[in-house]
Subunit: 335 residues, 4 copies
Amino acid sequence: MIAVLKSGTSDKQIENLTSWLKAQGLDVHISKGSSHTVIGLVGDTSKIDADLIESLEMVDAVKRISEPFKNANRKFHPDDTVINVGNTSIGGAQFAFIAGPCSVESEEQVMEIAKAVKAAGATMLRGGAFKPRTSPYDFQGLKADGIEILLKAKAATGLPIVTEIMNANHLPMFEDVDVIQVGARNMQNFELLKELGRTNKTILLKRGLANTLKELLMSAEYIMAGGNENIILCERGIRTFETYTRNTLDLSAVPMLQELTHLPIVIDPSHATGMARLVKPMAMAAAAAGADGLMIEVHNDPAHALCDGPQSLTPDKFAEVTGAVNKVLAAISED
Amino acid sequence: MIAVLKSGTSDKQIENLTSWLKAQGLDVHISKGSSHTVIGLVGDTSKIDADLIESLEMVDAVKRISEPFKNANRKFHPDDTVINVGNTSIGGAQFAFIAGPCSVESEEQVMEIAKAVKAAGATMLRGGAFKPRTSPYDFQGLKADGIEILLKAKAATGLPIVTEIMNANHLPMFEDVDVIQVGARNMQNFELLKELGRTNKTILLKRGLANTLKELLMSAEYIMAGGNENIILCERGIRTFETYTRNTLDLSAVPMLQELTHLPIVIDPSHATGMARLVKPMAMAAAAAGADGLMIEVHNDPAHALCDGPQSLTPDKFAEVTGAVNKVLAAISED
Amino acid sequence: MIAVLKSGTSDKQIENLTSWLKAQGLDVHISKGSSHTVIGLVGDTSKIDADLIESLEMVDAVKRISEPFKNANRKFHPDDTVINVGNTSIGGAQFAFIAGPCSVESEEQVMEIAKAVKAAGATMLRGGAFKPRTSPYDFQGLKADGIEILLKAKAATGLPIVTEIMNANHLPMFEDVDVIQVGARNMQNFELLKELGRTNKTILLKRGLANTLKELLMSAEYIMAGGNENIILCERGIRTFETYTRNTLDLSAVPMLQELTHLPIVIDPSHATGMARLVKPMAMAAAAAGADGLMIEVHNDPAHALCDGPQSLTPDKFAEVTGAVNKVLAAISED
Amino acid sequence: MIAVLKSGTSDKQIENLTSWLKAQGLDVHISKGSSHTVIGLVGDTSKIDADLIESLEMVDAVKRISEPFKNANRKFHPDDTVINVGNTSIGGAQFAFIAGPCSVESEEQVMEIAKAVKAAGATMLRGGAFKPRTSPYDFQGLKADGIEILLKAKAATGLPIVTEIMNANHLPMFEDVDVIQVGARNMQNFELLKELGRTNKTILLKRGLANTLKELLMSAEYIMAGGNENIILCERGIRTFETYTRNTLDLSAVPMLQELTHLPIVIDPSHATGMARLVKPMAMAAAAAGADGLMIEVHNDPAHALCDGPQSLTPDKFAEVTGAVNKVLAAISED
């Protein structure tokens, strides 16, 4: 960590600051230039609150040199993490197609979609049993019953299942769940992250709506600091001023995260765009950008399909998406 | 709720949609104009997912006419809510000065600050025992010991205490806490909100970093839907592109929220600006905008003060702030 | 345009509003529902200020049904616009590779890069002669001399040239320029747009840093309203809270714009990411998303290359990008 | 300027970089720490592109120590700038009330409003003759005729006038205008700023919708670099995710800018909130935060008033605002 002091800082002030820093267990290197003084801090600076130091009257700027994430950092773990999930894996050669309905509504619905997406190339089944909703009056999911339905679909198809947790007290219900999802609104629910760090479950961690990639990695670090290194990162769109799309899919997150971390990265084009007809081009783009997988909403609800017509991402449309994505993957693998 | 259909929607499609909507228990009113058809939905539309309807091919736009929040809505509760907190209150004639250290560090520290801020006009004492930190390696607070220290300061000074909760399982520790704070990162931790709705504690709910006022009110609604109506809303700065200040304090939230809801609103200029020297002008501005109170960070840590010099918000500076704010309050009360 | 009135609006108020609206030349259709009244406005609503109507006490919401852009609207012009530029074209079968240095520095530099990018597959040459800089003290470009240099490179290679205009008074200097670029900061410089609308030059219009797609299309509309329909839209990254990348490339803009407009869309991954090593994956992603072309910064400055080493996008690296993009294009053309 | 090099940078690379930097005319100070090397640059670093250096493979971070604005910088000009405008002034003891209609519509309208706002305490008259509109089909203002009308109102009332310029070629029409406004969308129209720098007119420079305070000051610097130091800065709301208000008024900009610059700062609560009923509380808050003045939209259009009812900011309401603001100003002047 580097602190740049304002010109005009007195020797007495510098001495006060350095003795305080040394008391925190750090080595302090002072470099006085003609126009400024730079203090270099060596040691475990992770305990130091950069904001506090930056708020000091005498300090012009503070810059962390080392990334504050360690377990997630590619520098200390150069090889890609490959996570085995049931009969498949993610992060290595296998491109993951995670597909299924937004909400688990009935056994019939999930069973039908599960079979259809498997036939279309899905490698995992997703479905929401606990639903985080902005309004307390909106449907909150089938909860435990929803998980039971997913497990039946897993038994029938062999597809590993991915479903969201909202409360660490619910963990016993997730015993047979293959991948536990942490939603965007819980990305900085640190108490939940800590509890998940004490399990050995694979965690799919979604980026928060207005969070940076560094914050996403720090949240992964919360889980990893507890000993659980099975983490899949998920970009699902960030909040911007654009209104035609629900959120803005940040695909540059894919190569950027791959440089910063060894963890696998999947893209959720369904939530990011909010429009089924944008899923195919964005899925292809995600594959071209180097993502490790996709998470796509597929439904077969007849009432909905009735209204929705040609634009819904039905299992048939999903098969088109996997086909197109596989062509892109083949093209880039030659590269 | 109004749905505007695209021109060219067939009668068959309209019929399909209306029968689906009626099956959800709604009355449907159709108004065909020369250029468009508008469907008005009457009944309990809170169960209807506006996003789902908007995503239909045939739908141009969906607009909720009634606000989705009910218990928090001023329309149904015109009078200001006044909440009694220990020997003081908030939301009525009494302007609240909530002051104290960011983190509880020691009994000596808290006791000294508590006495000093009380002398300077504080009506409640704040202090963090559980600290939400972006990094798992940063100091996470004194936890239960921190709450014990706050309770001692309460006993010594009579000041009601305000402190943050991060995990509903910790509720037993908060039995003697007067006001339980929900931090910005937990504003949409719906499971926590639901649990707090089952208590009768006063909740201070902070707006999330990139959340809208409607989302803040929907989170208040989660608590109120459980039966707990003792909620204080807190604006603490939102994330913008500005970098000189840590966040951007949205003071228009004060009159805007007062129009929308009957709940009291406090402003936290310390977190919003990240700079002690901006606290005084922003506190005065918050009072002028009509806020019901302020939440201000005050510390007396000698090591910190050593470095910080004239810019720290020491108890003395806090007394200057309360003095200036009281002048503004006196001026606007004449109005 | 639809205006939804608040419940409790009196007949007298409705009458006042409708007579005012009729005085603006509109047909007014009133639909009274049990819970609300909807006013439908038919006629040339483009002259009506939606904000003004929404600000009325009695109005709950206003919604434009028809898009406010007409000339740029795909509804009225279903076929893709193909623009001929020198010996090439954009918007049809030909994928555009626009490459060159950020700033024109010298004839030698531009000539060398022009030849190299042409050999690597570029279809147009870009280079900045007038440079919009945040600081008045930064290098502002070679101006007229820069354009002369670009024209020499065009003469030598046959590549059409793309360069930015900042002032309509400079138009005479752009007589032999093939594509005139409007930069992000001038996207809503309406006076400049109007002047460009009076020319028949091809305009490459960059999306502003915090502008929506609708605002981009309205700016295109300014040019088209003057009679000039030769417009290329360019997504170059938008401002978000992410700091690892300079901006956030919004690739969902590609399929979204293609639905809304018939104008061609190019992607600038260099400015969007600010990092040469992210250009290749984002270029591939842009092609997979369906973009009509790419705009990529290529330099050969020896001093810069000296420092920059393997990470600069030298002509060699650019050849890798075109190769990889062409593989993606081949893969998706089969689809 | 400080550049922090990555650990592992070779001596050869450091030498290459330092010789390149020296060739740009800078003194280079190297400080090798145990974990990193810091390069300090002394001299006129304003010519150095920090982004370019940060993009180098070997560079971890770049930090400007000195602010890039000079003429606008309070460090070099500690006293507040006071600008004389007609018979009044701004930036000193006199608080400015700039009031008038958004658009100039007719002589009768402007004359009536001018008299009314003068009676209510306005010190300057504002009105738009050239209107920047998102759509080319919206009313673009009365242009030259609008300025003539404003000048008549000035002659009748003695109020100095403030009106917006969109095109430097229009400058001759602004000869008798007292304050020339640059709108938010033109804040980075550098060619316009340069031209205004060559005049001696007072410029009111509005902050762009998504611009930082540093960018605002750099735009002021463009004007000042040309020799014109008569600049009033204006905060008029920034784009955020909030939708109840049109924009978000950033009042912390007031004390923050006052620390950074000596230029006067006015607040426009009308555009920031988009709601007349929020103008009064935000005007009072702006005064309490220390602003040098307010810019408020006042209209008397009878047709509009008919619809608008109690919520419009009529001259009567404006008189209420000036009264309330004056009470706040009196209260804080005692402080």
